[in-house]
Symmetry: none
Subunit: 336 residues, 2 copies
């Protein structure tokens, strides 16, 4: 579907583009009746005014947008660096939009991009995002989109991510090899493909080793730090508490360490801990944290490179690209 | 029924449309009597402001920009949350532009804002930024600017920061009270006011306690992590190595901890460490880190509130505002 612009409206209404433009600007030259007709159609067709049209009619905005849930996460801040390393070479600005894990905000942001504010979009969706319709609509308006890390697996769209299932399996196998028999998996979303894939890997590793998958060992955390703390505390106060923890995202790690401290549980003696994380401070935590380290910079770089290919070559079939970059396990004291 | 607009009201009242518009916006230029007449008629005729047309006419982007050196720093990511908490209430988008401590990039970004891409700007300058000319030029083009954290002290511009001098003094006093006699100060810039103010506080505390200020104990780090590591290592390999370290920014802390580990120096027994930092993981480091914690969220919130005041009330003298929010010392094991 092509973008609705003033000319589309004019044609549909049998008016000149100039008249439509003036009507949209509430010009005194235009009758109230005409204005009402124009506004009614604009609303019906979901016309978004292009605020830069006058100065940038033929020029591009030379700007790409990165839509992210948050920046207080080392994966995202490193991915941004990877994206900027490519954008800088191309002479593009990078705008960062934060959704704070709020789906409605994500939707509103993407809707605004339809006006041509940016030339392309890189997105990692919120933990609430269940349907890709807002992304499809943005693409339909002519803006290329690349998803990274938090992607829609079944959507035909350019994607860059890591081998989440294999990494979840590897992390769990590592815990088992270090003596764990009853491990918990901390998720942060029921809908995000990455946490679900990591959980699948966790389950596979248990099955590989003929260990039972217990529903009670799978904990769904949220975006509320206080609530997560109480969930993790409850988990670790159980009679049959887990002897190992796999955290699907790094923001849960501080709570895990603090709960263990509060309950006088020693890491790794009483419970071994591993987390998906790119935390630079992993080596200086007490104890140092075993991590599944994602190639965050490379993921950002690859995603931006795909986007620029599609901006530079209109015949480049971006939606067929699906890049998977492997993560690596870095064993430290927390799983010894 | 035809729509009641500003011109209808103006005609009816014998006023100009501009006066009616200003009256509806509660402008200080309009007398209370006139405002009351306008509002009474607007109510009587059931006037509904046409937001769709008015946003086009005003050409407001409903967007503010936050220009930052980086996001991989807990101060900045918390400050962003403070900014967004205000912007969200006002229905504004927040765009984040990263300068990566590069002055030329900062200059280019600010230059672009002159075209009206955003309605206002919040900025924390790079460690390379020595002159405020690009900021003055942006303001001269009509875009309101608020500086936060990394500000130009002598510039007449709205500023929000913390009590850096007092905090540097407090941190150094804390080291002295815990037995240190020869402390190092790790700076990251020769030009940034915040690190210089913190250094002044450090010097003052030494003088207060009749301790010598040694040039060799003041280390100017850079944005190159590897280089900083070697600088800190050299410092700690000296015969008369310091017995205390005050780091002016949190990104130096990982290097300090790693150097100490490499050189088999124990924290706090051999060297005590304190840092300006909002790291959530400070409590779970080995050992836990004593910090000067800045009110990061509040600084962001205050800066955004100032900006919106100036966007909403054209007579608000924003450049006279200088808000200082105090930091606090959180003593932990690294200075015991």
């Amino acid at each position: 579907m092509s973008q609705i612009n003033i000319r589309t409206l004019a044609k549909e209404l049998g008016l000149s583009p100039g008249t439509v433009s003036k009507a949209l600007k509430d010009s005194y030259e235009i009758s109230i009746e005409t204005k009402e007709r124009v506004l009614a159609l604009a609303k019906k067709l979901n016309y978004v005014p292009n605020i830069y049209a006058s100065s940038l009619r033929k020029k591009r905005s030379k700007t790409i947008a990165v839509v992210l849930p948050e920046v207080a996460d080392s994966f995202f801040s490193l991915a941004i660096n990877g994206i900027e390393s490519v954008a800088q070479k191309k002479g593009y600005h990078v705008l960062i939009y934060l959704t704070h894990e709020n789906f409605l905000k994500e939707q509103a942001i993407l809707n605004e991009f339809k006006s041509g504010r940016v030339d392309g979009v890189l997105i990692s969706v919120t933990s609430e995002t269940k349907h890709p319709q807002h992304i499809s609509e943005l693409r339909a308006s002519g803006v290329p989109v690349v998803m990274f890390d938090r992607v829609f697996e079944d959507m035909e769209i350019a994607k860059v991510c890591t081998n989440d299932l294999e990494s979840g399996r590897l992390a769990t196998k590592h815990l088992i090899e270090n003596g764990c028999r009853q491990m918990a998996y901390l998720s942060i979303s029921k809908s995000l493909s990455i946490t679900n894939r990591r959980m699948e890997g966790y389950k596979k590793a248990l099955e590989d080793n003929k260990l039972q998958v217990l529903k009670t060992n799978i904990v769904f955390c949220t975006n509320d730090g206080g609530y997560n703390y109480s969930l993790i505390k409850k988990l670790m106060q159980r009679k049959n508490r887990p002897d190992g923890i796999l955290a699907s995202v790094e923001k849960l790690i501080i709570a895990v360490y603090q709960v263990c401290r509060e309950l006088h549980l020693r890491i790794p003696e009483d419970v071994k801990v591993i987390s998906f994380s790119n935390l630079a401070s992993a080596t200086i935590l007490s104890p140092s944290l075993t991590t599944i380290t994602q190639p965050a910079f490379d993921i950002g770089e690859a995603a931006a490179s795909l986007l620029f290919k599609s901006l530079e070559k209109s015949h480049f079939k971006i939606e067929e690209k699906n890049i998977i970059l492997p993560s690596s396990l870095e064993a430290r004291d927390s799983t010894k």
